[in-house]
Amino acid sequence: MSTEADQGLARLRSMLLARRFEEKCAELYSATKIRGFVHLSIGQEAVSTGAIRALHDDDAIVATYRDHAHALARGIPAGTLMAEMYGHAEGCCRGRGGSMHLWDAERRFYGGNGIVAAGLPMAVGLALADKMQGRERVTACFFGEGAMAEGEFHESINLAALWKLPVLFVCENNRYAMGTALARSESETDLALKAASYEVPAWPVDGMDVEAVEAAVTRAARGIRAGGGPHFLELRTYRFRAHSMYDPDLYRSKEEINEWRQRDPLHSYEQRLRDQGFLDDESLKATEGAVAEEIDDAVAEAEGGTLEPIEDLTRFVYAEETA
């Protein structure tokens, strides 16, 4: 197969992994295996897959509570993530974090920030450290459109722009912050325009198109590495499911959801790959099968996991040595 085909299949597989993983999470939540707040990215997978593919291994990723798809795209093993959601010692955070707080130092995955917009200052600082130490890395910071109303967004993007720091602001505009539609949250709904008011290059991208996302992030990251300072991307997307497991989803119509489902990033990309001759029923089935197996293994791993001993509860409240 051609490299192009490989790439295409890799994208599809990545999105599929996120989708199936989260479907499984929903199932396991109902089965009370997973608890706490759980936020699914179903419908938004093109963003995490496309964006993270475009980044380098030593770039940093700062994410939100809606972080499963991002963690998977970054290559954190599904089993480790599932174990975390089970609250097991084998989880990436030894069961202390849960769904909202997935972190991985080795992969520079600065996880799972549960406070809306609170990851942004951290991203600015990571980028500042890179700049001061002369490293050519990018810090990509994911956040929702709702986060843009927070003061921390404003302060952070100003700081990044003022100091010309290598931050990529990745806004996942899924049109709602919990139940609050963008137009009920921002006086200016053109988010790239808002970002541009900080003298930051900014543009909107079709967040349902994994290749468009990848291309945009590639271009923005190149601009950043070339010393162009922070960039901002508005990725227009949609979440198909409720905000979290608690959300009765009263604030939007079935029609609207269905309309967006027509643009499901997996289905449309599958179709594109078929049209390009990169995918057929058989290879799709193989991919689905491989993903299903990965998820099954992850669940089995989590099921077979252990609980952190209660004696270790206070371990890590303070770091044990200098980082």
Binding site: R35, G36, F37, G87, H88, C93, G95, R96, G97, G98, M100, H101, N113, G114, I115, V116, A117, G146, A147, A149, E150, G151, E152, A177, M178, G179, T180, A181, R184, S185, E186, Y246, D247, P248, L250, Y251, L307, E308, I310, L313, T314, V317
Partner: protein
């Protein structure tokens, strides 16, 4: 339940419903009252407290705010100064840190700093506490911090009845009043008189009388304290359970009264132990009722860790009925 309807006299309802009825009554009684906060409207309230009120009162009075805690809490201050009677909902105490400047530096200071020219009749409600596996950033119990600040009043309704009744006097008070709703209580059920009994804003309540020791607590720990008292009763120990209800101003008389009666005390507070509000209670008792004490005061608080997600770890971090019982036994001189 998702319906808002008049509840018959003496009906049983959840804490959540009780809060909702309180808000609804206040909205009906006074056109200056409105509810403002993130997702109070179209979403139905992040914990369902305001469900259906949006349909009844509309978006002006059940006012969804963008994610901007500092601005909408501050706007509540301004609206109160402008003659309204805002109820601001901050989703949880964890996010209230983003609005703390407005609350501590403005709401709490203005009356005094202006020489009494201004009053800020503002109510701020928020969820507090842990116990639902929400992990380190969604599990704080910081009502003790707010209770440190002169100029604020701080309520922590621990019963359905208080949840139903407390809003009216809070709105009638000319000062900023904070109401802390423990997340574990929303589904608690209890009887409520209808119309609700008029309650005073301040003042502690003895929830269970006893002679042998005082368990002093508030909010989300009240049910645990009552359970512990049941367990102690089985052992023949009569625990009096004092519900503080209001952390600022503090009902010191009630605290001293129960301690002078029982001579032993356990203070239960979900805050981390060091610097907890329980420390204040414990210190007051030892300072003002020193010669009445037959044993050192015990505190049962959270362990000093960011609250973890895993259930067994979270459970181990929080005050438990078991811990309260053991502390009570210790203070009774029954080593375990």
């Amino acid at each position: 339940m998702t319906e808002v309807s008049a509840t018959p006299a003496g009906a049983t309802m959840t804490y959540r419903e009780a809060l909702r009825q309180g808000i609804r009554d206040a909205m009906l009684a006074d056109p200056r009252v409105f509810l403002m906060g993130e997702d109070v409207g179209a979403y139905g309230g992040s914990f369902g407290v305001s469900r259906d009120l949006f349909a009844e009162f509309g978006p002006e009075r059940i006012r969804d705010a963008p994610l901007s805690e500092s601005a909408f809490v501050g706007a509540g201050i301004g609206a109160a100064l402008g003659g309204m009677r805002p109820i601001v909902e901050v989703m949880t105490v964890n996010f209230s840190l983003l609005a703390l400047d407005q609350i501590v530096n403005t709401a709490a200071t203005l009356s005094h700093m202006s020489g009494g020219q201004f009053a800020i009749p503002l109510v701020i409600r928020m969820t507090t506490g842990a116990g639902r596996q929400l992990a380190a950033q969604h599990s704080h119990s910081l009502e003790g911090w707010y209770a440190h600040v002169p100029g604020l009043k701080v309520l922590a309704p621990g019963t359905v009845e208080d949840a139903r009744a407390i809003l009216a006097p809070a709105l009638a008070d000319p000062n900023p009043v904070l109401i802390f709703e423990h997340g574990s209580l929303y589904t608690a059920k209890g009887p409520v008189a209808e119309p609700p009994a008029a309650v005073s804003l301040t003042g502690a309540a003895v929830r269970r009388p006893g002679e042998d020791l005082s368990i002093i607590t508030f909010g989300g720990c009240l049910p645990k304290a009552l359970d512990a008292a049941d367990r102690l009763a089985e052992e023949g120990i009569g625990a009096e359970v004092l519900d503080l209800r209001c952390l600022r101003p503090l009902d010191v008389d009630a605290i001293l009264a129960t301690v002078r009666k029982c001579h032993r005390a356990v203070v239960v507070d979900e805050g981390w132990r060091t610097g907890s509000f329980a420390a204040e209670i414990s210190a007051r008792i030892a300072e003002d009722a020193f010669y009445d004490l037959d044993a050192p005061v015990e505190r049962v608080c959270s362990l000093e860790v960011p609250i973890p997600y895993a259930k067994h770890l979270e459970d181990a971090a929080l005050p438990s009925v078991e811990q309260i019982v053991r502390a009570a036994q210790r203070t009774m001189g029954r080593d375990v």
